[in-house]
Amino acid sequence: MASTSTAVPVRTKRKLENGKKKPKTPKDEFGEKLDIKPVIKPADEYDYDSSDEEDLRNTIGNIPIQWYDDEDHIGYDKHGEKIAKPAKKGEIETFLEKMEDPDYWRKVFDKQTGTDVKLTDEQIEKIHNIASGKYPTIGYNPYEPFLDIYSSQKEIHPIDNRPEPKARFIPSKDEMRMVSRMVHAIKMGWAKGPKTKKEEPKAYDLWASEDALDNVTKSQLSRMRVHMPAPKVALPTHAESYNPPEEYLFDDEERKKWEEAEKEDRVLNFMPSKYDALRKVPQYDKFITERFERCLDLYLAPRQRKMRIHADPTDLLPDLPNPNDLRPFPTTLAFYMRGHTGQVRAISVEPVHGELLASGGEDGTVRIWMMATGRCIKTFQMDGEVSSVAFSPVADRTLLAVAYEGKYVAILNTGCGDRLHVQQTEALLAETPTESQEDGAIVTWRKSKDKLVLKMPNEVRQVTWHAKGDYFASVAIDDIAKSVYVHQMSKAKSQCPFQKRKGHVQAVTFHPTQARLFVATKIHVREYDLARCVLVKKLITGCKHISSMATDANGENLFLGGLDRRFCWMDLQMGNKPWKKLKHHTAAVRSVAYHKKYPLLATVSDDGTAMVYYARIYSDFSKDNELYPVKRLRAHERTSNDLCMLHTTWHPTQPWLITAGADGTIALFTY
C-alpha cells in the first residue's frame, strides 16, 4: 500500500526534475548533448494512467542495480531502448547544489533511475511519522468504532438456523467397508502386525571396549592403569656417526676380532665406518633386521614394574633419644684394680656407702677393695677357687657370703667398715646356733674364728642373699634335683625346697620384697612362693641357656642374660613372655646388673664389652618401660679360653659400673 502511494509522487517529481535539469543536460564523451526528452515524449497516456503499476520506465526488473555500474545505460525502457545513465555530479556541483537548492534536504537518490527525487511534504511527514513511531498514514484512526459480532453473552438461539445434516447421525459406510476389509484380512491371516524396523548392519566399533571398563579383566585393568612404556632404544654414540673420530674406527686387529666373533658376542653389531660426506652414506641394510629384533626383544621380554621403596634407612631405625639426655651413665674407665692372679669370678659392693668392694677369684682369695682408690685392703685365703661372693644387703652387718670349691659356702665377717658394726657382726656370728644341728643334716654348719662355714653336698655355683639378710640361697653346679638350698642364718639351718628336678638350675634370685624365689633353669624361670611352697609363675624366656638373672628394686622386672648372647627383659606384670629381647653381644652374656638408684642396666659378655642401657621402669601402667642402649664399654683382655668379662655390678650410689675380668683385674667405669 505504501509503495503505491509513494510511487505516484515519484512520477511527478521526475517530471519536475526533468524540467529543471534540462539546461544542464549531461554530455557524452563526444560533447554532443544527450537528449533524454525524446524518450519521454513519445510516452503515451497509457503509461501514465496505469495507476496500479509503478511507472517503471526502466524494465530491467528487480536486479541489483550495480550490475549496470560499468555500463553507459542504466536499463531499458518499454521499447527496448537503452536508458542512458544520467551524468554523475562532480563534487563542486554537489556542493553548489547543496548551497543553492533550498530543497536539497528533501531530495533522495533513486538508484533505479539514477536521479535525485524530491520528496513531497506528504512523504516527508510520513517519514517523520515512521521515525517517531506513529502510524505512517496521516489521519489514520486506530480506535474506530468496533462492531462486536461475537459477544461474551450466551445466546439462546443459534446464529444460523440450519438443521443438523443427516449424515451426522449415520455411521460411515466407507469406514465400515475399511473395517470389514481389515477384519477379513485378519481372518484370512493376511494381516501382519506393525512393521518392525529393520536393523541396519552397523560397522563394528573396534574401540568400544576401550571406554567400557565392565568386561575388563583385572590384569588388563592394571596394565591400563600402570602403563609401562617400552624401554628406550639407546641413543647413538660416536661410533654410529657417519664420520666418527679416529679412535672409534676399527684397526685391522679389531676388525679381525669383530669378524671372528659370533654375532651374539659382538659388542657392536655394526662396524664403524667413515664417509667424508653424508650423501655418500649408503642405505642402511640392517634397518629391517634391527627393527625386527627390537620387536622380538619387546615381545619376549616380560615387562614388570619393580616396586622399589625409597625409604631412608635411618627412618626405619627406632627413634632413639640422644644419649646425652640420658646421663648419667658410666663412660670412662677410671682404673683397674689389680691383685688377683687368676680369673676374677665374682664381685659384690657393700650395700649403702659403696666404699668397699669384695671380689673372689680363681686364685682362691677373697679380696676387699677400696672403691675410690682401687686399693686392696684385705685378703682372705680360701681353700678353693671362689665361684661367688655376695655382700649382706643389711648395712650394719659386715658379712660376705662366699662360695668356693670343695663344696663350701662361707659367711665371712669382712672386718672392714664401721668398727661398731664389725663388733656387732662378730657377736652375731658367735651367737649363731651351729651346735643344735641334727646329726643327719645334709648341710653341716661349722663355726670358726670369724666365719661360718657350710659344708654342702655339691659344688656351689652361686650364693645370693634375701633383702632382709637372714636367708641366703645357694645353687649347685651339677644338674641334680636338689641343687637349690635356702639357708637361714639365725637358726643355722638349711633346707632344700625343691625335691623334683625341673631342669638344670643356673641361677636363683630372691624377690626383693617378698618371700619369693626366682629359679632360672636353662630356658625357663619359675617363681616360687617360699612361705606357701607353691609355684607362682612359670616364665618362658626365649633364652636357650640362661646364665644370670637380676631383678629391679620392686621385683616386678627380671633381667636375664644368656649364653646364647641374648638379653631378655621380663616384665612380670605383662605375662610370662619377655618384653624385650636383645642381642647386642657377639659372645655369651655372663652377667646382668640393674642399678638400685639410677635407671641403668648393664650386661657383660665374653666379647670383652659391657653394654650399658638406660632402662627406666615405670610403675604406671600407661607408660611403657624405656630401654635404650647408651654405651658400650671395653675393658679387660681376653684370655686363652675366650673368657673376658665374668661378672658385673653397679655402685650403690654412683652411676659407676664395676666389671670383673678373666685376666685378673677389676675395672671401674665412672661417669
Binding site: P328, T332, L333, A334, F335, H353, E355, M370, A372, T373, G374, R375, I377, C416, G417, D418, R419, L420, T653, Q654, T670, Y671
Partner: protein
C-alpha cells in the same frame, strides 16, 4: 720497623700475601727493663717463639746488658699458645686497633728434685717447713726434707691404712722436732702426732667418725680441724691444748684411761657434727676469707660452704660429677675442683653465681683427676694429678693447654701438694716425687 722485616725474612715468607696485625708490648713486671712501646707490624702466622725473638732483639737494641730470656705472652687474660692468626680467630680479637700484648717472664719447668720410694701406696702429701710429709696405705709416715733425707716413721697399730693428713704446727728452724700433724684413716680415727726425739708420739685421738676418714684440714691458727668421712658427715675438732670440753673418757675403763693419760694421750669427741652431704665427703678446706667457714666437696656432686658455728649450709655449688678434691687459693679466693673425670674446673665461690664454671681445663687424657692444688704464691698457677699417671701444671689464663706436664710416675697419682716452691706428688707406684718450681 726493620726488625719485624727481618723477622719476616726469617720466616721465609713474602710479606705481601700475609695478614698483619699491629702489636705493642708492655709488662707489669717491675724487674724487667723498659720495653720500648713501639708498634710492630707482625704477620699473623707469628708464634710465641717469633715474638720472643722480636722482643728480645728489641730490648737488646736499647739495653746492651740484656740477656735473652723466654717470655710468655698474654693477650687480654689469655695466654698466647698458638699462632696469632689462630688466636685471633678463636677469641675473636679485634685487629683494627693495636693489639696490646703483655709480656710475662716465662716460668721455668719444674725441676725434679727427689724421687722417694715409699713402703706402700702414698695416700697424702703435705709440704710444710721445708719438709714433705706423706702418709701411706701401709700406715707409714714418710718425711723428707729438702735435701732428700728420708725419715720413715710407722704408726704403732700395725697395718693401719692412713688416708689423709694435715700439718698442725711446725717449729721455726725447719726442724722436725716438735712438729705436730694430724692423720686420719680407714680405722675411723684421727690422730694428732708430735715428733719427739725422732719418734712419733700420739697426742690426741679423735673419735667419732663411723667410717673411714677421707680428708682433714687444719685452720691457720691451728685451733680447729675439720674432717670428712665416708659416712657423709663432717666433724669439727678442737685442737686447742687448753680445751677440755670435748675430752672423752670411758668410765668403765678407768685403768686403761689412766694408762693413756700417763702416756699423755687424750681422746676427743667432735665439737660439731655436720650432716648435709648425701655421699662420701672427699675433700675439705677452710675458707680463707672468713674464719669459721669451710668448704667441703662430696661424691654427691656438690661443693658446700658451711658456717661451722651455726652448723649450717651457706651456699652450694652443684657440679656435674662426683668431686674428688677442691682447693681454694688464699689470696684470689678462687676454688679449683676436680671431679671423677679428666677436667679440673674453676669456680668463684664468692660470686652469687658460684655454680657457674668459670673455666674448664682440658688436657688430661682419661680417668680421674685425683687432686688439685693451688700454688699459694702465684694466684694463677695450680697443679692437678690424674689417674692417667701425669701431673699437670696449669695457668688459669690458659685453659686449653697446660704449662707443663710432669711425667714419671708409673701408676695412678693419688695426691699432690704445692707449697714453698715445691710440688710433691704421691702415687700408687709407691713413690713420692718432688719438684722444684721457680
Amino acid at each position: 720497623m726493620d726488625l719485624s722485616e727481618s723477622m719476616e725474612m726469617d720466616n721465609g715468607t713474602t710479606s705481601e700475601n700475609l695478614k698483619h696485625v699491629q702489636i705493642t708490648f708492655f709488662s707489669k713486671d717491675e724487674d724487667l727493663p723498659e720495653i720500648p712501646d713501639a708498634v710492630f707490624d707482625v704477620p699473623t702466622v707469628a708464634e710465641c717463639d717469633d715474638l720472643n725473638l722480636l722482643l728480645n732483639k728489641t730490648i737488646q737494641a736499647t739495653d746492651d746488658a740484656w740477656k735473652e730470656r723466654k717470655f710468655e705472652f698474654l693477650v687480654g687474660e689469655t695466654f698466647l699458645r698458638t699462632s696469632l692468626a689462630e688466636f685471633i680467630e678463636e677469641y675473636e680479637v679485634e685487629t683494627e686497633t693495636i693489639l696490646k700484648v703483655e709480656c710475662v717472664i716465662g716460668i721455668e719447668a719444674p725441676k725434679p728434685l727427689h724421687d722417694i720410694q715409699a713402703p706402700d701406696w702414698v695416700s697424702s702429701v703435705q709440704v710444710a717447713n721445708g719438709h714433705i710429709f706423706s702418709t701411706t696405705y701401709g700406715g707409714d709416715i714418710v718425711i723428707v726434707d729438702r735435701k732428700g733425707k728420708e725419715t720413715k716413721l710407722s704408726v704403732n697399730s700395725a697395718n693401719r691404712i692412713l688416708k689423709c693428713s694435715g700439718i698442725v704446727r711446725t717449729t721455726k728452724k725447719s726442724q722436725l722436732e716438735g712438729t705436730e700433724f694430724i692423720v686420719g684413716g680407714e680405722n675411723q680415727l684421727l690422730t694428732l702426732y708430735e715428733i719427739e726425739k725422732g719418734a712419733l708420739v700420739e697426742k690426741i685421738v679423735f673419735r667419732g667418725h663411723e667410717r673411714a676418714v677421707e680428708c682433714v684440714s687444719v685452720n691457720s691458727d691451728a685451733t680447729r680441724a675439720i674432717s670428712g668421712s665416708v659416712d657423709t658427715n663432717l666433724k669439727v675438732w678442737n685442737l686447742d691444748p687448753s680445751d677440755e670440753a670435748t675430752n672423752y673418757e670411758k668410765e668403765e675403763e678407768e685403768s686403761s684411761a689412766k694408762k693413756k693419760r700417763k702416756k699423755d694421750t687424750r681422746t676427743k669427741v667432735p665439737m660439731v657434727t655436720i650432716g648435709g652431704h648425701r655421699d662420701k665427703v672427699s675433700s675439705v678446706v677452710w675458707c680463707p676469707w672468713k674464719s669459721g667457714h669451710a668448704f667441703s666437696c662430696s661424691w654427691d656432686h656438690t661443693v658446700v660452704q658451711w658456717d661451722l658455728e651455726l652448723a649450717g649450709e651457706v651456699s652450694r655449688i652443684k657440679g656435674p660429677k662426683s668431686f674428688t678434691s677442691i682447693d681454694i687459693h688464699p689470696t684470689s679466693n678462687l676454688l679449683i675442683s676436680s671431679c671423677t673425670d679428666a677436667i679440673p674446673r674453676l669456680y668463684d665461690p664468692k660470686n652469687r653465681d658460684g655454680a657457674m664454671v668459670k673455666q674448664s681445663f682440658i688436657g688430661h687424657q682419661n680417668g680421674w683427676v685425683e687432686s688439685v692444688k693451688w700454688n699459694p704464691v702465684d694466684q694463677n698457677q695450680f697443679v692437678s694429678v690424674s689417674t692417667d699417671k701425669t701431673a699437670k701444671m696449669w695457668d688459669v689464663r690458659s685453659s686449653k693447654s697446660s704449662l707443663f706436664d710432669i711425667h714419671g710416675h708409673e701408676d695412678r697419682i693419688l695426691c699432690a701438694a704445692w707449697n714453698e716452691g715445691l710440688i710433691a706428688t704421691g702415687s700408687a707406684d709407691c713413690s713420692i716425687k718432688i719438684f722444684e718450681t721457680s
